[in-house]
Every structure is written in structure tokens, then in C-alpha cells.
Subunit: 164 residues, 2 copies
């Protein structure tokens, strides 16, 4: 399984990029899956299954509830990204598109919206490309530089990358 991260601050276009990339990869016939980090801490909206909470309190280290196409898994103490990627791998994922989790070391695209965000390019590891609104001199960076208007070109490049 290949893993590609789409990272950047809020409103930098991560979800749009992830959506376009998923669409392009699925159209190529890859089994694509996605994982995103729920912003601002806290649990995703509305998980209040009291029976699951009871299972947890009774001592279950994982308590799950499934209804139709959704499976909610509560882990104690919490989830590690590596546990989650292992689940995706087991499910037969070819390419996992991860939105967020920017401190992790998988290959990543960084989206830059403002000059103030440029420090990310120094701090994050394993950057393969950046999509930027501020103008950058590509020669200054050891990865590909795309402007915001070139997002589709970045996706074409990624498609070629994954097709080898």
C-alpha cells in the first residue's frame, strides 16, 4: 500500500486536493481509501453511543459499533496513525490518501496559502511537492513546486508516480 499525505493549514485547500486526487486515482482503477484528522481536537460529531461507552468502562480496549456502512471504533487510550494505516492495508487498499497528520513522515504534498505558512516547508519531512498561493522560486526547494492554479498538473504528476 502506498500512503500520500495532503497537509497544510486550515483553508489551504486540502479537502479539494484530496477529493481531486481520490477521483483521479479511482478513475485509474486503484483501490483508493482516505483518512482525515478531525480538526480542533474532540471527537467527530455525535458519537454518543452509550452502550459502547459502557463496554469501554467495563474494560474493552476497543469498543465498536456498526450500522449500515459505518463502523465507529473507540480505542483506549487513543489511536496511533500506524494502527489505522495497518487497518487500511489489511482491507486491501492500494493507495491511502491521508488528509492532515502533518507531523508524520509519509510522503506528503503541502498546501501553502499564506507567506506565514512557509515555515512548514522547513519543518515537515518527506515533502514531495508543494502547491502554493505565494509565488515561490522552484530552484530554492528540493521538491516540486506547483502554483495554486496548477493543482491539476500536480495530480497528473502524482498519477504518473503511482502508475509506475
Amino acid at each position: 500500500m502506498e500512503i500520500i499525505q495532503i497537509t497544510g493549514y486550515k483553508n489551504s485547500g486540502k479537502t479539494t486536493m484530496a477529493e481531486k486526487l481520490i477521483h483521479a486515482l479511482a478513475a485509474e482503477g486503484f483501490r483508493v481509501a482516505s483518512l482525515k484528522h478531525h480538526g480542533h481536537g474532540g471527537t467527530p460529531d455525535g458519537f454518543e453511543d452509550t452502550d459502547s461507552a459502557r463496554h469501554h468502562e467495563a474494560g474493552a480496549f476497543i469498543s465498536g459499533v456498526q450500522g449500515e456502512g459505518l463502523l465507529q471504533l473507540a480505542a483506549r487510550p487513543t489511536w496511533e496513525l500506524e494502527q489505522m494505516t495497518a487497518i487500511y492495508q489489511q482491507l486491501g487498499t492500494d493507495i491511502l490518501v491521508v488528509e492532515g497528520f502533518k507531523k508524520h513522515a509519509y510522503k506528503k504534498i503541502v498546501l501553502i496559502r499564506r507567506e506565514e505558512d512557509l515555515h512548514l516547508l522547513k519543518e515537515l519531512t518527506n515533502i514531495v511537492a508543494v502547491i502554493t498561493r505565494p509565488t515561490l522560486n522552484a530552484a530554492d526547494y528540493p521538491f516540486l513546486v506547483f502554483s495554486q492554479a496548477e493543482m491539476d498538473r500536480c495530480i497528473e504528476w502524482l498519477l504518473a508516480h503511482f502508475s509506475h
Copy 2:
């Protein structure tokens, strides 16, 4: 990984039984996890992560969102129990307590609340014990019969079973 199902109709005491069993197994040092079916169809309360829905529509066969201790995985078209049990196994579960999914063939405890529910004992497979409010003649059944008041005895028997 061992799997034990706790089955029966609504209000037959499944959650109480699951909770007591989880507690007893965890106290013995087992890594216990639980999975329950969300009753009445529909998705568990409140999953309305629109970005995940966008990932799904774009073609992701699994789209997940994680916040703190909770991971919500949406599968297209839906989840099979075997996919879910494989996840629990991979996470290092010793014993998985499954509440519901009564048509599946794992070893199961059946809870009987009313005479009208007794047909379950003929229809379900792999029953190891029944906990019943109506009085049953144990000699008529090829599995252990406990009265509602003997739930704790049933749990002791299960503990002994898993400890071998």
C-alpha cells in the same frame, strides 16, 4: 482471537451480559474488545462528516475520520462482519465480545426473555449457552441452560472456558 456472540431480542439483557463478561475477562488479564450492531438500521447517531462523504463520492472505497480516541470508517458498499473481525484480530485482541449479528455462526450465548423468543434456539447456530427467563428443561437442549438469575454463573463458566 476468540469470538463470542451475545445475542437475543431487544431488552433481553444483551448489553448487561456483554458488560459483565467484558469486565470479568479484562479482570483476568485478557485484551478484550467489543463490537455491537447498531439497532434498527441506519447509521450510528450523528455521523455527518461532510468531507468524508466527499471522499466517498470521489471514489474512496473506505473513508475515515479520526478524532482523539474515535475512528469512524465508512465503507462502500457496506461492512462485512468478517472484515471487522479481521481488524480486531490485527489490533491484538484476545477475545472479541460481539453483541448482536445473531445470524452469524460464531459461538454464541442466547438471551431469552419471553416464550415467543424460544424459536431462536432452533434457528441460531453454534449456541453454547442460553440465559432464559422462561423456565426450560435443560435436558431438552444440547447446550448449557442458565436462568436469568444465574447470569453470573454463566460468566464464570465462560471464564473457565476461555482460560483453557
